[in-house]
């Protein structure tokens, strides 16, 4: 388990380094993700400790954004004032996003099928 974590931290560190030095627009962890993906594509397999740690992160990804979300306490008055705007924006937007993405794919799948 430690082995997999070390691998991830090293890729993350590399990403942070490149982000600070060369490409400040992109968050370091995203660059780390891309580097690791490139590495995996070249290697052709996920080693077992890495796969294990990655799976447990995926399972409990939600835990990691609790600390930041608790900060909602600082915004409660603001959110209360604009409760309608926030609810409407989130609700309508998520429905449109899912519907549009699915319809675009359906369109392409149908076209590929017809050809």
């Amino acid at each position: 388990m430690i082995n997999g974590l070390v691998q991830l931290l090293i890729w993350q560190g590399l990403g942070e380094l490149v982000s600070i030095l060369l490409w400040p627009n992109i968050p370091g962890p995203v660059l780390g993700l891309l580097f690791l993906l490139a590495f995996l594509l070249v290697k052709g397999e996920v080693n077992q400790p890495l796969g294990m740690v990655a799976d447990s992160f995926r399972l409990h990804l939600g835990l990691l954004f609790v600390p930041a979300s608790v900060g909602v306490i600082l915004f409660l008055p603001d959110l209360k004032t604009h409760a309608l705007a926030v609810t409407a924006a989130l609700l309508i937007s998520v429905m449109l996003t899912i519907a549009t993405t699915a319809l675009v794919l359906k369109f392409f799948a149908k076209r590929a099928h017809d050809e």
Binding site: P67, A68, V70, L105
Partner: protein, 243 residues
């Protein structure tokens, strides 16, 4: 005995000054939420993150602990967000095999999907008169939380509100997606998976995996690709819109 009554106040001062209290609060509330979630057959309404956030927020409100103080302790959990982002490479890699021939439609669908997501959320929020803080935090809400917060820092909006909107989006998406798909009569699992990955990120994936393995794989990949594309493009788009 000079001091037979244990000075509970002193223990409290010690505990609340160390990171321990915030860590216990974060992990224990999440554990409770997760247990309830599993008990409820992984119903997306019983969301462990939402339960944990509600309970933890309520606790620090009741004991009057400043958020900054809480975060000092909880930052150890927060730090791992970056590491978890890097770990997303694994599900993307695993999905790559099934991607052949679908890369172009998927990229296009992702781009159009996220454009709709941002356009509608930002548009509706600003039309209904929400402040800059709220409107700004709508940009990255369809991206998986760790990346969304990285983007929020880059485009100078509140990472906190972004995280909250992201969690809410994931919950709503995971609950509503099956109804939307059935209404639109979309059957192929890979399309259903991709759409839920774009619209409802992490929680959508969990939902997709519980229904169908193929849908879950595509959802993971869609979420990862969406995150990467958004991280690259959003700062550029936002800077352009603001200039």
């Amino acid at each position: 005995m000079m001091n037979e009554r244990l000075p509970i106040a002193e223990i409290w001062v010690y505990l609340s000054g160390s990171p321990l209290f915030a860590l216990i609060l974060t992990l224990a509330t999440y554990q409770l939420g997760y247990t309830l979630y599993v008990k409820a057959n992984r119903n997306p309404i019983v969301n462990p993150v939402a339960i944990s956030v509600l309970l933890a927020t309520f606790c620090i409100y009741v004991i009057d602990m400043p958020y900054q103080k809480y975060f000092e302790g909880a930052q150890f959990v927060h730090f791992l967000l970056g590491t978890a982002t890097v770990a997303l490479a694994v599900p993307i890699y695993r999905g790559c095999n099934s991607l052949k021939g679908k890369l172009v439609p998927m990229t296009l669908a992702l781009l159009i999907g996220s454009a709709v997501s941002i356009g509608s959320a930002v548009g509706i929020a600003s039309m209904l008169g929400a402040g800059d803080n709220i409107v700004g935090s709508m940009y990255a809400k369809s991206v998986t939380a760790p990346i969304a917060m990285g983007i929020a820092e880059r485009i100078h909006v509140s990472p906190t509100l972004t995280a909250v909107f992201t969690v809410a989006t994931g919950m709503l998406g995971a609950i509503l997606a099956p109804f939307i798909m059935n209404f639109l009569r979309i059957k192929p699992w890979w399309i259903r998976g991709t759409a839920i990955g774009v619209g409802a990120h992490g929680l959508g994936i969990t939902r997709a995996f519980s229904v169908n393995e193929e849908a879950g794989t595509y959802a993971s990949m869609a979420m990862g690709l969406n995150g990467v594309l958004s991280a690259v493009l959003l700062p550029v788009v936002v800077n352009y819109l603001r200039s």
